[in-house]
């Protein structure tokens, strides 16, 4: 039978779009099939109340400059409403701390010298990992020179740090953020805020091993040359993914939204295409999945095409989302206690101490949501008024922590949790509740339903040492290719992980070009 496309991509999340655009640019006939009505996945922007728009992923800070350029996203309309957004660590009492170096110095003499030195060194150490994040993970135990060279390169990057930094990197890389911060700083507010970034999106509190690794990865991408810092595209994150969609179609890719893929077709141990929800079969020798590994392997492909050991690994792959998202439509600007209005153009963190944050991460262990959540708040309308009706505002808050599998079940608990969150925000910004016109609370279960990733996890699959680099998401599928010929992964669960990065999509496209078509 005649193939309809060279490559079919399941899902138009930002990674699927990057992958599709790059393959189309290389002359491949590409179809991107998206189940929801809009492209972008978790990096899209949606209207959550009439006239009010929000993005589940609200801050762009990881995507490499080179990728934005290579895809010509600015030519496709990508604009930034804000870059290098500052961060303020909120305190309940109103003694907030700006994370700008001079502000930290003023607030805490003890940390004055430590902070810039720590940041500089941490950035240097993270830099040694950067090349690894932009390359396919080497395979272990093979005789292939490409794998050996990749491993040598990794070793070389670390060695190049010099002896003292190399030792420091090797000392801290397996540590937890709590101990590292405790060793370096005294201000609880500063430590709480830094620990928040180290653990954001993971199901790992600051005392969990491996949280220095997740923080190093974040820092490696965020501190890359030409990076925007914390940024907000015009039109929300959807501004980025809309540009990506245009880049893909301009390169010749076809994008079909509102079309769910039901099944991946296999014949003679090779992928042959997909079956859509409508029953229609589309043929292609290569299928790239932007969906998470459980959805891809267990639902779309089916265990019958896989070996049980592999299925077991996929089944055991940890993906328990604990991050929720709250969107508020406000009829006026929120007034945080003792906080300048200009600080609302930046990012607000509420994680007043590491102990507070650790407790927030404790709750999901017992199937509960934290009654005292840690928060990352932005008011996107401060930088981009188009996101709300004139004079009105959107508050966007990441919530740590609320588990996907709430013991009491979300059905009867969501309203109460929403009320609790509003109370917490009211305490920080008195009068806020009165200004609320509409609320959207997305629990991990809602996120799972909306974006189709099993577990509703930020990274699709937990980002931790045992699901990292050559074993991400699982051994046997860590180089984008999977055990079934022609089937590839490109989503957040693949290397280097979640966040609006796009590297997964780019590296998957590379793997497709190297292996197939």
């Amino acid at each position: 039978m005649q193939a309809h496309f060279d490559v079919i991509i399941i899902g138009a999340g930002h990674n699927g779009l990057v992958c599709g655009a790059l393959l189309a640019k290389r002359g491949k006939r590409v179809l991107i099939v998206e189940g929801s009505a809009a492209t972008g996945g978790a990096a899209g922007t949606h209207e959550f109340a009439p006239g009010f728009r929000a993005s589940t992923a609200h801050l762009l800070h990881l995507m490499p400059r080179a990728l934005i350029t290579a895809l010509g996203l600015e030519q496709q309309g990508l604009r930034f409403a804000a870059t290098r957004m500052p961060t303020t660590a909120l305190s309940a009492e109103g003694n907030h701390l700006s994370l700008a170096a001079d502000a930290v110095a003023a607030a805490s003499p003890a940390d004055a010298a430590a902070y810039p030195a720590f940041t500089a060194r941490f950035t240097r150490l993270a830099g040694a990992l950067r090349p690894m994040l932009g390359a396919p993970p080497p395979r272990l135990g093979t005789d292939a020179w490409s794998d050996r060279i990749a491993l040598l390169k990794l070793g070389w990057q670390v060695r190049r740090l010099g002896r003292r930094d190399m030792r420091e990197l090797l000392r801290i890389i397996g540590m937890n953020a709590y101990d590292l911060l405790e060793d370096n700083f005294s201000s609880p507010l500063l430590k709480g805020a830094l620990a928040f970034d180290a653990t954001l999106g993971a199901n790992l509190g600051p005392r969990a091993p491996g949280t220095v690794l997740t923080w190093l990865m974040r820092q490696a991408l965020e501190s890359a040359d030409g990076n925007t810092g914390l940024a907000q595209p015009v039109g929300g994150m959807g501004g980025l993914t809309d540009a990506l969609t245009r880049a893909a179609t301009a390169a010749g890719a076809e994008v079909r939204t509102g079309t769910r893929v039901e099944r991946v077709l296999v014949a003679d141990d090779r992928v042959t295409g997909v079956v859509l929800g409508s029953g229609e079969s589309l043929l292609a020798p290569v299928v790239v999945s932007n969906a998470d590994p459980k959805t891809t392997f267990l639902d779309l492909l089916g265990p019958e095409h896989l070996d049980t050991g592999f299925v077991r690994k996929v089944d055991h792959c940890r993906a328990r989302g604990v991050t929720a998202k709250l969107h508020l439509a406000l009829d006026r600007l929120p007034a945080f206690l003792n906080l300048s209005q200009s600080a609302l153009k930046g990012r607000l963190l509420f994680s007043p101490s590491m102990a507070y944050l650790e407790r927030a991460f404790d709750a999901p262990k017992y199937g509960e949501h934290s009654a005292e959540p840690a928060l990352e708040i932005t008011v996107p309308t401060m930088n981009d008024p188009t996101l709300a009706p004139s004079g009105q505002h959107v508050l966007s808050a990441v919530i740590e922590c609320a588990p996907r599998d709430l013991r009491a079940g979300w059905d009867g608990s969501k309203d109460a949790y929403q009320a609790l969150l509003l109370d917490r925000l009211e305490a920080l910004a008195p009068g806020l509740k009165e200004s609320v016109r509409a609320v959207e609370l997305l629990t991990p279960l809602d996120l799972e339903r909306r974006y189709g990733n099993r577990g509703g996890h930020w990274h699709h699959a937990e980002l931790a040492f045992d699901q990292f680099l050559f074993v991400r998401p699982v051994p046997g599928a860590a180089q984008y290719a999977t055990p079934v010929q022609g089937l590839f992964l490109c989503g957040a669960a693949s290397h280097p992980g979640g966040g609006v990065v796009g590297e997964n999509g780019r590296l998957a496209a590379q793997a497709v070009l190297a292996k197939a078509v």
């Binding site: 141990d269 267990l298 089916g302 265990p303 019958e304 095409h305 896989l306 070996d307 049980t308 050991g309 592999f310 299925v311 077991r312 089944d315 046997g476 055990p483």
Partner: protein, 402 residues
């Protein structure tokens, strides 16, 4: 009778006793019991030779209750099993049995065993190892239930040239109609039993499956029915001898389950064990298929073969060499026996490529302990066809009425 000795905490629990334990103890002249899959079972009742000849010339009865049994049920049971094992289960008809192996992702054998199709959507998998974790993980995505039923079923192997006659005598009317690997259902004075024409002896024989609480009743009736046909309870030593003659593999002797190997290269693929005929590459995907396809393309590195060894000293654990000088080691014996029926000194051995071809000559290094003095012999051996013993009667239906 309770199968479990006591309600002691698990770490204090002695080995389980099969429902035939009391009868076995009465007949055991040596009180020689060994552990098998968590049960205590008889090693030798009288002498291995006497028990061996019971199987080859009359009928031997072996208690195979400890054989691990899983019940696999559900609309997807057939598809599930086809994914699990290397043979094409779609070809297994209701009331038929199939011998097969199953592999891990690397195409290495986890176990071998027999698969019984008891109904449209119901099967038994009988195996050497407990492996519920693997079987359950293999069930991800399949509408099946997998349950261990080892303790719910008592089983006896009734094997030998007079076995059919004896079972007819016992009341299994029509058992002579069972073809090899057939399953039939019978009643003994109202007690329902299942019989399959299967076994581990390479001879005419049956396996009888019954409820544990009827085990002693059936045992007594069976022994009575066979009294004039030389029936005799046999232990695992005699069984081991007859299975070597039949060329059957014994887990822990001829191969180790890939789940329990620790050292690299100690696990075995079906191709290495010469079980190519069990591997159906055409049926679609199954566990280990990709690895086996690659191994087949590469060619196997070693193979389990039959050896005809010179002399009459069993080549237990012998290392194998290309030459008498013993310079180049090329394999080792896994099972060895002086076969009383074949009058040959036979062995099963793992031999490295390319020395495993039929007709290859190798040298075996045999150690003999003679009154505490060890002697070493280098004897020649030839790679020969298996099985070593395959009498027509194992297949003839109906079997001779004797």
């Amino acid at each position: 009778m309770s199968v479990k000795e006591t309600e002691l905490p698990h770490f204090k629990q002695p080995l389980l006793r099969t429902p035939f334990h009391n009868r076995a103890r009465e007949l055991s002249q040596h009180d020689s019991f060994v552990a098998w899959a968590g049960y205590t079972t008889v090693d030798v009742f009288t002498t291995p030779e006497q028990e061996y000849f019971a199987v080859r010339n009359a009928t031997g009865v072996f208690d195979l209750t400890p054989m691990v049994k899983y019940r696999i049920k559900g609309p997807a049971a057939g598809r599930y099993l086809n994914h699990l094992v290397t043979r094409d289960v779609a070809k297994l008809k209701v009331n038929r049995v199939m011998y097969t192996v199953w592999c891990n992702d690397n195409g290495h054998i986890l176990d071998d065993g027999t698969l019984f199709r008891l109904g449209e959507d119901e099967y038994w998998l009988c195996s050497a190892e407990r492996q519920i974790d693997w079987l359950l993980d293999a069930a991800i995505g399949y509408d099946v239930t997998v349950e261990e039923v080892t303790e719910q079923v008592a089983a006896l192997a009734v094997q030998g040239p007079t076995s059919c006659w004896i079972l007819k005598q016992l009341g299994l009317a029509g058992i002579e109609q069972l073809k090899p690997f057939d399953i039939g259902r019978f009643a003994v004075e109202g007690v329902e039993v299942m019989a399959s024409r299967t076994g581990f002896t390479g001879d005419l024989g049956y396996e009888i499956w019954m409820p544990p609480d009827k085990a002693e009743f059936i045992w007594d009736r069976l022994m009575e029915a066979g009294r004039l046909r030389g029936i005799r309870a046999i232990g695992s030593q005699a069984l081991n001898a007859v299975r070597i003659e039949a060329g059957f593999l014994m887990p822990h002797y001829d191969f180790v389950s890939a789940e329990s190997t620790v050292r690299l290269g100690r696990d075995r693929s079906p191709l290495e064990l010469g079980l190519d005929w069990l591997v159906d590459f055409k049926k679609g995907h199954f566990n280990g298929r990709r690895a086996l396809v690659a191994e087949q393309a590469r060619g196997v590195a070693r193979r389990l073969v039959g050896l005809d060894v010179a002399g009459n000293k069993p080549a237990h654990s012998a290392l194998l060499y290309t030459e008498e000088s013993g310079r180049q080691e090329i394999g080792f014996v896994t099972s060895a026996l002086w076969s009383p029926t074949c009058k040959r000194n036979i062995a099963l051995a793992i031999v490295n490529a390319p020395h495993f071809a039929l007709g290859s000559k190798v040298w075996a290094e045999i150690y003999l302990n003679r009154e505490l003095v060890w002697e070493r012999r280098m004897v020649q051996a030839e790679v020969v066809e298996k099985p070593f013993f395959a009498p027509e009667r194992r297949r003839v239906t109906p079997p001779a009425d004797r």
